[in-house]
């Protein structure tokens, strides 16, 4: 009984005798965890574990393994090669395609603690060492540098026999803070090229490898490389481009400057300013609109005066200059009618009842008359006709300038038609007093405005007898008058000297028998103040009509002037063709001009008796021959 009490007391006091360490509890060691085994070359492998708490007591660890298919438990052969808490299996202990069942046991004074078992197969846990001998060199490809990276497989990995097949990967980074790694898979090759480098930059390069069915190795040690400066060429290209473009820009600017005016004209066409006569811009700017607009009013428009008559030309006065005399050609028979028809392009002015050319005809006759009155130059014909001239009852002064016969004569000049012919009618009534005629000449003489300014005496002055049956139309013609030439002139539309004077008092035979009147068309007045005439073509044909040239053939005789101021002509038709015309028909007579005087510019006054045989009525034309005949 005493022993039992002693044992109980011992048992109770036993904890007291146990040394006390500040409350530390001793326990079993913690379970080792995270057992990880790796094989670098598929020949050996190493296992590591993570020990648990030691429980306050020295703890030892042991690794036991069991191979597949056998229950024999082996312990780790080598705890030290691989470091602490590791177990290294060498080649002899390593078999492949056999799974290992590994358990780690932690042992301390209190007991053992077993870890969870792990099944591994060596071929699945291959993790090689990183590649070795990493070399980076800068190489040049046509001036552009690139990096050539080369390495070796890890020493222990047997790739030569094909036991391990390694796949490599490398990464590159610039030596900057914010740069990122750039990975490149190199496959099974042990060399790699890196392009597109930054000039002057420093690169970091690492490489790692992995077996075909395994784990990636660790990255190798970093290799540094510095790329040399190589952007000279690139920069020089840019500099060249800049210079070239600057040059082109300069040329463009210069071109634009040179053509600035035309460009301005093209881009900004000038706005036409107001060009109003009498418009004063300054006045407008000053704001006085009344003055501005009043200035616009032209004083003479609209015409406030009623001097319309002044504008109208009563008659035209054509003065023949002294040097040039109008030639009067007249045929034997004074049946020829002088007729002038304005050209087709004649202005419309005064087309009503008279034709300007007719006026010219009259004027020429009158002018010649006057000229002959004054002309004493060996004008044989003129002297002959002095008498008849004086016997003229009336004369109508026609003033006209050289432009009167031009088709484009101003309208003023031809406005005198009505008044021109009105005095014609009383011709037959009473003889004219030359003086009166002269006065009338002066009265009806046109104003100076009708004459071209500064016109010399070379102007043609044609006077028309107001009441005289004699009228004379002289046209100057510088050409000689050989009879043969006349015909040629006729056909060549040359100038013609025509003068027809119908002197009722004098027989026609007094005058040049070869004179004849013929119808001509006043073509124009040339620059020498000559009235150019050309024959009026006949109704049939011009040639036919003009083929009559012959001496003393087919001359019409002026029969008389009827009430309609139509010259009645009588023509002795030699040829078959008869030129009977009515209305506006025209006739073409050839006239042979025989001038006795050598002077080409002579006029002759011929008065021809008019025999009434035929009537030639031409609308709008006054046949002077007819007029003259009335007086007889």
């Amino acid at each position: 009984m005493m022993t039992k009490v002693r044992e109980v007391l011992l048992l109770l006091l036993l904890p007291a005798f146990v040394p006390h360490t500040d409350g530390t509890r001793y326990s079993l060691p913690g379970k080792p965890t995270e057992i990880k085994c790796r094989s670098p070359e598929k020949e050996t492998f190493t296992c590591w574990w993570k020990p648990g708490s030691d429980g306050g007591l020295p703890t030892t660890y042991a690794l036991y393994y069991r191979k597949e298919g056998s229950n024999v438990v082996h312990e780790c052969p080598d705890y030290h090669t691989a470091g602490k808490n590791s177990c290294f299996f060498n080649k002899n202990d390593t078999v492949i395609w056999v799974s290992y069942n590994i358990t780690v046991v932690a042992t301390n004074a209190l007991g053992k603690t077993y870890s969870d078992p792990v099944d591994i197969d060596v071929v699945y846990i291959v993790k090689p060492h990183p590649p070795e001998k990493l070399e980076v060199t800068v190489m040049k490809d046509q001036g552009w540098p690139f990096l050539r990276v080369s390495w070796e497989p890890p020493r222990k990995a047997d790739t030569r026999s094909g036991w391990i097949t390694l796949i490599y990967e490398l990464r590159v980074k610039l030596e900057e803070e914010e740069s990122e790694w750039e990975n490149h898979v190199a496959g099974q090759q042990k060399m790699f090229n890196i392009f597109s480098l930054r000039s002057g930059g420093t690169y970091l390069i690492q490489v790692r490898c992995k077996p075909d069915h395994g784990f990636w190795s660790e990255w190798s040690s970093t290799s540094y490389v510095k790329v040399p400066e190589y952007l000279h060429r690139e920069k020089s290209v840019w500099i060249l481009i800049l210079v070239f473009s600057a040059f082109i820009l300069l040329i463009l600017i210069w071109l634009i400057h040179m053509n600035s005016h035309s460009l301005k004209h093209c881009m900004l066409p000038p706005v036409p300013g107001p060009k109003i006569k009498g418009f004063d811009k300054q006045l407008l700017k000053s704001g006085k609109s009344d003055e501005v607009f009043s200035a616009l009013v032209v004083s003479d428009f609209p015409p406030t005066t009623s001097n319309y008559e002044d504008l109208l030309v009563e008659y035209l006065e054509v003065y023949v200059p002294e040097q040039q005399e109008l030639m009067v050609d007249e045929g034997k028979d004074h049946d020829g009618c002088l007729k002038s028809i304005g050209s087709a392009s004649d202005s419309d002015s005064g087309r009503g009842s008279c034709d300007s050319d007719n006026l010219l005809m009259d004027k020429s006759g009158a002018a010649k008359e006057e000229q002959q009155q004054q002309n004493q130059e060996g004008d044989q014909i003129g002297t002959e006709t002095q008498g008849p001239k004086e016997a003229w009852e009336k004369e109508t002064m026609l003033c006209a300038n050289e432009d009167v016969v031009s088709p484009d004569a101003s309208s003023k000049k031809v406005k005198t038609w009505p008044s021109v012919f009105s005095p014609v009618t009383p011709y037959s009534s009473s003889p004219l007093d030359p003086h009166n005629s002269l006065e009338m000449h002066k009265q009806n003489c046109l104003s100076d405005t009708q004459f071209p300014p500064g016109s010399p005496s070379s102007d043609h002055y044609i006077k028309k007898a107001l009441q005289s049956s004699y009228w004379e139309v002289c046209f100057n013609n510088n050409q000689p008058y050989p009879q043969t030439d006349v015909h040629q002139q006729l056909q060549a539309h040359s100038d013609r000297n025509i003068s027809a004077i119908n002197d009722g008092n004098a027989p026609s035979n007094l005058l040049l028998p070869t004179r004849m009147t013929e119808y001509v068309e006043v073509q124009r007045v040339n620059e020498e103040n000559k009235v150019l005439l050309h024959p009026i073509p006949s109704g049939h044909s011009r040639e036919e009509a003009c083929s009559w040239v012959g001496h003393g053939d087919n001359y019409s005789k002026v029969k008389g002037v009827n009430s309609d101021n139509v010259l009645l002509l009588q023509r002795e038709v030699v040829e078959e063709e008869s030129m009977e015309m009515t209305g506006a028909a025209e006739s073409c007579y050839t006239s042979s001009i025989a001038i006795n005087t050598p002077k080409p510019t002579t006029c002759s006054h011929i008065a021809l008796p008019v025999q009434e045989e035929r009537i030639l009525a031409v609308s709008g034309y006054v046949d002077t021959a007819t007029m003259f005949s009335l007086d007889t």
């Binding site: 597949e68 298919g69 078999v95 071929v123 026999s161 094909g162 036991w163 099974q188």
Partner: protein
């Protein structure tokens, strides 16, 4: 489509051989075969990892129907095996797995639904690759002599549907065997490419 490809590949090879056209060199054949085996093993690895994480751990390896085949267990042994033997081993292993793959493909329904599609797809691919590899190895073996023609028969007994544990066991066995095939062919490749060290 894959079967057509397999047939096409085989037909091309046969035609080439028959027509006495320029034969594909052995190096190329081996290289092609090794590529196929690599793909095969990669597929099985992927399968086990996916299923292992989702469904069940399959690291524990049990006895496979192909365990009776003696294969090298370490590097020295493997490097001492002749090329013909290596080829024979590869072909035997490959042959041993044609039936189990069929069984596996038809036994997917026992697995959880999420794993079924993965399993069926992958098994189908594995079948294709193994077929291609088999055809290539047949031609290769015909060029390498009679020793290469030996195929050890490794029958697979199970023909009915197998349970889930069997599936896991089969998958792990296949993973190993495909790795063996791949290793053998790669060793063979390096041996054949003496003049081309870059292939190894």
């Amino acid at each position: 489509m894959a079967q057509r490809r397999i047939r096409g590949g085989k037909l091309m090879m046969v035609l080439c051989v028959v027509a006495m056209c320029r034969a594909v060199p052995i190096n190329d054949l081996i290289y092609r075969a090794s590529q196929q085996s690599d793909k095969l093993h990669a597929l099985s690895t992927m399968l086990t990892q996916e299923l292992g994480s989702e469904v069940f751990p399959i690291d524990r390896v049990h006895a496979c129907h192909t365990s009776s085949l003696q294969t090298p267990t370490d590097k020295e042994q493997a490097l001492q095996v002749s090329e013909s033997d290596l080829l024979s081993l590869a072909r035997s292993l490959l042959q041993a797995w044609s039936d189990p793959l069929v069984v596996l493909s038809s036994s997917t329904n026992v697995l959880p639904y999420s794993a079924q599609s993965t399993l069926s797809k992958t098994i189908q691919k594995m079948q294709e690759h193994s077929k291609d590899l088999k055809d290539g190895l047949d031609i290769l073996s015909s060029k390498m002599g009679p020793a290469a023609q030996t195929i050890t028969s490794l029958p697979f007994i199970e023909t009915n549907e197998i349970g889930q544990d069997k599936i896991t066991k089969l998958l792990s066995c296949f993973r190993r065997d495909s790795h063996k095939i791949d290793s053998f062919l790669k060793v063979l490749r390096c041996r054949a490419a003496n003049m081309q060290p870059q292939m190894c």
